[in-house]
Symmetry: C2
Subunit: 197 residues, 2 copies
């Protein structure tokens, strides 16, 4: 890679970082491309070199987020985590990321505002529901779950409970208590899921 390519990649990453911060704080409609350029210390032309429109920039912010979760799921495999341990580990990692990283919070806001953006964005939640369902199936196959539990229903509800805790902690405490709340979530729901709790 030439040093010009490197410089371009660095600029692109910086634009994405700054755009996520702005979208997270103020929402899609309120953010201007010129503000993103100014915050990134770049010219507006340089921002448009990488992203031809604000909608395309928003799309890239969302894609970066999905790429990050693919890495997290890889790490679950590398650590050989399965079943409820895998779900718990993922939930604490996602909570930590959501708390500290606007790049994780912004996409959720953007997906909620998708109508105003007018471009195709991935559907939120469904990837998580599928991942949680797979690990719940592992737990069921190992005899860890109560016999009458529906894996499909429990997966949907776990993702919803996690997402609700994340949102409530965000709105009530600016995420200050999020890690504690996700830990607490497990205390409350685990006896309903697992025969070993």
């Amino acid at each position: 890679m030439t040093s010009r390519d490197e410089q371009r990649q660095k600029s692109r990453a910086e634009i994405l970082r700054v755009a996520a911060e702005e979208f997270d704080r103020r929402g899609y409609a309120a953010v201007a491309m010129s503000e993103v350029a100014a915050s990134a210390g770049l010219t507006k032309g340089s921002v448009y070199f990488h992203f031809t429109s604000k909608a395309e920039l928003a799309q890239a912010v969302v894609e970066t987020y999905f790429a990050q979760w693919r890495l997290l799921r890889q790490e679950v495999e590398e650590r050989e985590l399965t079943g409820l341990d895998a779900i718990r580990w993922m939930s604490l990692n996602v909570a930590e990321a959501y708390k500290n990283d606007p790049g994780v919070r912004a996409p959720l806001r953007l997906m909620r505002e998708a109508e105003a953006i007018g471009v195709e964005l991935p559907t939120p939640f469904v990837g998580w529901i599928e991942a949680v369902r797979e690990h719940l199936q592992e737990a069921q196959d190992s005899g860890d779950l109560h016999g009458d539990l529906s894996v499909d229903a429990a997966a949907w509800q776990l993702v919803a409970a996690f997402f609700g805790a994340q949102e409530m902690s965000h709105q009530l405490t600016g995420c200050a208590d999020l890690t504690v709340r996700i830990d607490e979530l497990w205390h409350v729901v685990l006896p309903g899921l697992s025969v070993r709790s």
Copy 2:
């Protein structure tokens, strides 16, 4: 009450109904007072007679919502519902209202957008957490809950799980499956709460 008073009250209610629909669908920033007037079949002057600004209108939409929940809580008392029965009954009623009534969905969106509105809005969730906590306490006093369950933690988590299910159902199915999901929520969490399940 004179017929002019009656007419004014009717206009006010109609403005609130229409404003909730618009705020729910498009968010605070996108809605103009003139559009609210047009949808309500009133002049802009008539809307401003009732609400001196868009922010005041948004505030009134949120207040109407809180008044509605005070009525729901009164109904719980009149029906003499207590403990887990009370919480379950409330959750199904709130889900039904959220599914069918923009007047219930709009305030949640407005409270999330409070920063852009620039007026004091009530904090979401805290009233529900307190109501659920009271009923969980009744359940605990009657020996219905597992001994080691923290009533404070469970109240927070139940409200979060409900809210998460509501949001996910909204975003994934336009609330089509909300009632089923809230029913399912109880199947998943009840064994973790109650000794009788």
